[in-house]
Amino acid sequence: MKKSENTLKLQFDSLSQNESLARSLAAAFVMQLNPTVAELADIKCAVSEAVTNCTVHAYRDAVGPVYMIMNAYADRKVKIEIRDAGCGIPDVETAMQPLYTTDAENERSGMGFTVMDSFMDSLTVRSRPGKGTKVIMMKKLSVLPR
């Protein structure tokens, strides 16, 4: 992939109030590329899901760092990486199944990865138990009208 035209690197605590902060910052970053309203909504929702996973699952009852790196490319692609150093996911394939959740008692719907996958062009999840999880999402924004 070509060198990005713009990069934003963030680190914040896995506190639930940072879910809205993270999606607002993602929206502000992507706004520079003049996305459509739908594209912006897709990205906000996908980021919210990924950060919520860090809050709810990665660190459980503890608080740890969440790293978010956003890259914008000349061809209007946006890459968003959200990483934690939490408990990791033993079986990523199973975790990504729609409606799969390990936290049903707190009414988690198990749709987080499905939402990320549906609203972004690509989703990659890498995880190692005890080491943390990295989510990489890509989306190509539509061509600007002339």
């Binding site: 639930s16 109030q17 879910e19 809205s20 999606r23 909504a41 906000k44 929702c45 919210s48 899901e49 919520t52 809050t55 709810v56 729609p98 409606l99 707190n106 009414e107 988690r108 719907s109 198990g110 749709m111 987080g112 499905t114 939402v115 549906s118």
Partner: protein, 107 residues
């Protein structure tokens, strides 16, 4: 430090409890909304619970869990349940999760 991006207004009238949610529903806000609706459901003992989502400007999958949870609770205690005002992105989320096959959507 706390932030509140969503609000719920509860009204009980003619045995119908209406919970009008506004703002952004995410994991951070879902718990408070859930507690407020459940407390009202318990005290009002309505025949029907309506969740009005016309004022929701953002919702991630936490909203799906919130609505599915209230639907399940209403079913358990024999209370009718419906969702009103779920349009655009909010409705899209419900359809994606297949909740449109379980829950009654009105208007």
């Amino acid at each position: 430090m706390d932030t509140k991006n969503a609000d719920v207004k509860l009204e009980s009238k003619n045995n119908i409890l209406t919970a009008a949610i506004s703002g952004e529903i995410d994991h951070h806000c879902a718990k408070n909304i859930r507690q407020e609706i459940d407390a009202a459901l318990l005290s009002a003992s309505p025949n029907k619970l309506i969740i009005n989502m016309g004022g929701v400007t953002f919702m991630d999958s936490s909203g799906l869990g919130l609505i599915l949870g209230r639907y399940t609770k209403a079913e358990e205690i024999g209370v009718q349940f419906s969702v009103q005002g779920a349009r655009g992105r909010v409705r899209q989320m419900f359809d994606m999760a297949g909740l449109d096959r379980i829950i009654t959507f009105e208007g």
